[in-house]
Symmetry: C2
Subunit: 489 residues, 2 copies
């Protein structure tokens, strides 16, 4: 840092400024565009005359570190931007001592991040097409939110803006038949933060929690982070198998009743009642993740588990990650009355509250009806994509592939009857090399018992119909290659 | 919810639609503007003919529930919007069983939320004036960020956008002399989430942590949430008193070296070295909260503690809550190399990553130099406000008030020599009634030992100079009233 001239300090010289800037250029401090501060602003910053800065800049210019265009700020010469000296490494020290939580995180194996769309067709679940985002509507809503600011910028209610919670309250009833008080709604940064808050407030080390098997791995990791122990419980065509739940067997059950993740079944009403009765007897909580309930095609809408809950054991979890964009980081919890205060406190200590601009923008598009009309539009588009995917799979693989979970949501599960699971890793690898992203359901099992055939979770929400067809075509090539190689061995 | 006609279901009637909508109107589902869905979209939603919807709407119109203007969607009649039937309350159940973390949160007493600027002058610390926000610059940056979207919308790196981290890397060096690798930076939702991640990764129940006394209460509550025990350690004119730190006495120390919160001292270099030496010997971590280091007036900038840290014990914490707005929820950590993976994992399980639009916008205004020019502009404005506040206090109270911490930051501490502390609650209450928000330093002490005189923390960043003068004038009235009342007793 360049020290500013203060009381008793000697005024810094052009030489010092030159040397500091030269070192900063070498270390790549000036970022992507390579622009240095203007001489006027740097002079103010350092408390020196503008002439002093000009002398330093002229020296940098003379030595070829910067280029100057009339009227613009000096820029680092393009070639130099690439030669970044490695920054000072810290010296060796004793091994870092993490908390029990930190140590547990080290044992979690999480799926790698996205490739960012470098493939021809990536069937990764959970991503959306950028072109589907209601750009113009969102832009207007963000604009209006920026214009409508209060007099002072301060911290808001930890549970979220009242306006958004009021809009969500109406939306939840209109779209999902779910009735709740505004005070029961907690706005969170996507469903992941909802899961994390539930884990922290409800689980201690060595407690037990039930998750679906197979199920959503991030939920399992989040609950296990507390040191609690997972009880993976099978799912069938009627959703989570509830018969085997012993009273008091767990403090918490995580379920996806509208569209089981990943296998796609809808939880039967008898199972729902059984689960709620178990929760009441066990004084346990049920987390209902309603993650993609907005998208259903050939089936009637099924009201959330929450609507059957007379005793306040259900915590409902929703998100706009599937309806608008996962990059917005907005989700919402509906919590029982007697847990409101605890959730508000936990959210406040986690990060005060969620970003306000997005909250206001979302509130306004729900109020105006544009959110729901966007969902209707997307439902039509996703239905078309789904039909294209199903038709392409049928055409290419006939009855050698069995599809599950296609009635709703944004993904299907495809089981390849004539491909033993030992070929799976090779198939995924081969497909990637021809430009297709495939993702195995095996990663979503907690236990070692996994499908005996290649079984893929195939998301289609981010792909147009052309890419879906091209992707299945390439997948067929990859399958052929793998099978031929297997024969030769 | 209205059930959609599906296979085997009877088609829903206009009567059913009418009844459902009537109930929804009574329960206030249609939000602030009271607009019902268009008949076309509702018909699509429910899988019925548009005529069926029209019949239902006509009935609602006839009974005076809605009004219809040509071409527009039906609206709930204004008077009805106000009569919201209370929603169904859940039946009694056993007391909720919270985790140990949840139980500890119940014991935390936190300061109430803001009044939202209803007072003439609220000297609450931590808020900014909405008029100071660089609206036009931020709007353009948000616009550019929205236009520059990728092909797919998916989850980003948990540590934040590479572009923002690269911009912050340059900023930290230019502005604070802090050098780090891009990989050491973790973008968080304001400094609060930074504190929370540190607490979770570094503290277990019954561990010990050092906080400044008096100090930032939210940090203390956050660390105590883990079940660890606070060691409140005094501060003096040279910052945290480090002499009394025994080797291995704590796993973590939280400090504000640039501008001690709330008393305002700058930590002396000898103390800094002593603290780092203690951390090395104890294999402990030091969290350096550099919360308002951008604002300094009569003093030289002091490089962060991080620049003296050769062994990777310091975790640096910065925020844009003081430079742009606390509503944006953006902060950043600089973590030691050997903790990068743990922080990335913890952030990912907390909420995947921070909202991307804001990250991109912030990156672009740092790259273009506008962030730093905004800070320079704000420094001039805040200096003016500070001078107005100091002059008004001097003029009104003379040497009966002693000011501390005015060299830097956005608040001062004012100690009223002739007002015993027992008058404090009454003074705060009286001032509020005449329109002035006052906040006691006493709330920032962990222990029972508190100042013997009325001592206020006075933030001035959200107030223009007129309001500051008016506020101090009203404060003088409140002081007079309290003193007279005390005499009469």
């Amino acid at each position: 840092m360049i020290r500013k001239a203060g009381a008793g300090a000697t005024r810094i010289s052009a030489r010092q400024i030159y040397e500091t800037l030269r070192d900063q250029i070498a270390a790549g401090v000036f970022g992507i565009d390579g622009q240095l501060p203007s001489s006027r602003s740097l002079a103010v910053e350092l408390g020196v005359s503008r002439t002093t800065i000009t002398v330093a800049y002229d020296q940098l210019l003379a030595e070829g570190f910067v280029a100057v265009r009339q009227g613009a700020r000096p820029r680092v010469v393009a070639g130099l931007l690439r030669h970044v000296t490695p920054v000072r490494a810290t010296r060796a020290r004793k091994a870092v001592q993490l908390s029990a939580y930190g140590k547990r995180l080290r044992r979690v194996a999480m799926a790698p991040d996205s490739d960012g769309g470098k493939l021809i067709a990536d069937f990764r679940y959970g991503e959306l097409a950028a072109g589907d985002f209601p750009q113009a509507i969102w832009r207007r809503a963000i604009h209006a939110a920026m214009a409508g600011r209060a007099d002072r910028l301060g911290y808001d209610d930890a549970c979220g803006s009242r306006r958004l919670r009021s809009a969500l309250q109406g939306y939840l009833w209109r779209a999902r038949g779910l009735r709740c008080d505004l005070e029961q709604i907690v706005v969170v940064n996507g469903s992941q933060q909802g899961l994390d808050l539930c884990a922290r407030l409800l689980l201690d080390a060595d407690d037990r929690f039930v998750v679906e098997e197979p199920g959503y791995a991030m939920a399992r990791h989040t609950f296990a982070g507390t040191g609690a122990v997972a009880i993976p419980t099978p799912v069938d065509d009627e959703g989570l198998v509830t018969d085997t739940l012993a009273p008091g067997a767990a403090r918490l059950v995580y379920v996806t009743p509208s569209h089981q993740f990943p296998l796609g079944s809808v939880m039967a009403v008898s199972r729902r009642r059984q689960l709620l009765e178990w929760a009441r007897r066990s004084n346990a909580h049920v987390i209902e993740d309603d993650y993609d309930s907005e998208f259903r095609y050939d089936i009637d809408p099924v009201p959330p588990l929450h609507t059957l809950d007379a005793y306040g054991h259900v915590i409902y979890l929703g998100t706009v990650s599937k309806t608008l964009s996962p990059t917005l980081r907005i989700g919402y919890l509906v919590v029982p009355h007697d847990m409101q205060v605890a959730f508000a406190m936990a959210k406040r200590l986690s990060d005060r509250h969620s970003a306000m601009l997005e909250q206001e923008a979302l509130a306004s598009i729900i109020e105006s009806g544009r959110y729901e009309s966007h969902i209707r539009k997307m439902r039509r588009l996703h239905r078309e994509r789904r039909e294209t995917l199903l038709a392409a799979l049928r055409l290419t693989f006939g009855d050698r592939v069995v599809i599950a979970g296609a009635d709703a949501g944004l993904h299907v599960v495809a089981r390849f009857l004539d491909l033993p699971r030992k070929l799976e890793a090779e198939l995924i690898d081969t497909a990637r090399r021809v430009g297709v992203g495939l993702h195995s359901v095996s990663d979503l099992y907690a236990a070692a018992v996994r499908p005996d055939r290649v079984t893929l979770i195939m998301g289609y929400a981010a792909l147009d119909t052309g890419r879906i067809e091209r992707g299945i075509h390439l997948l067929a090539d990859a399958v052929r290659l793998c099978r031929e190689r297997a024969k030769r061995r």
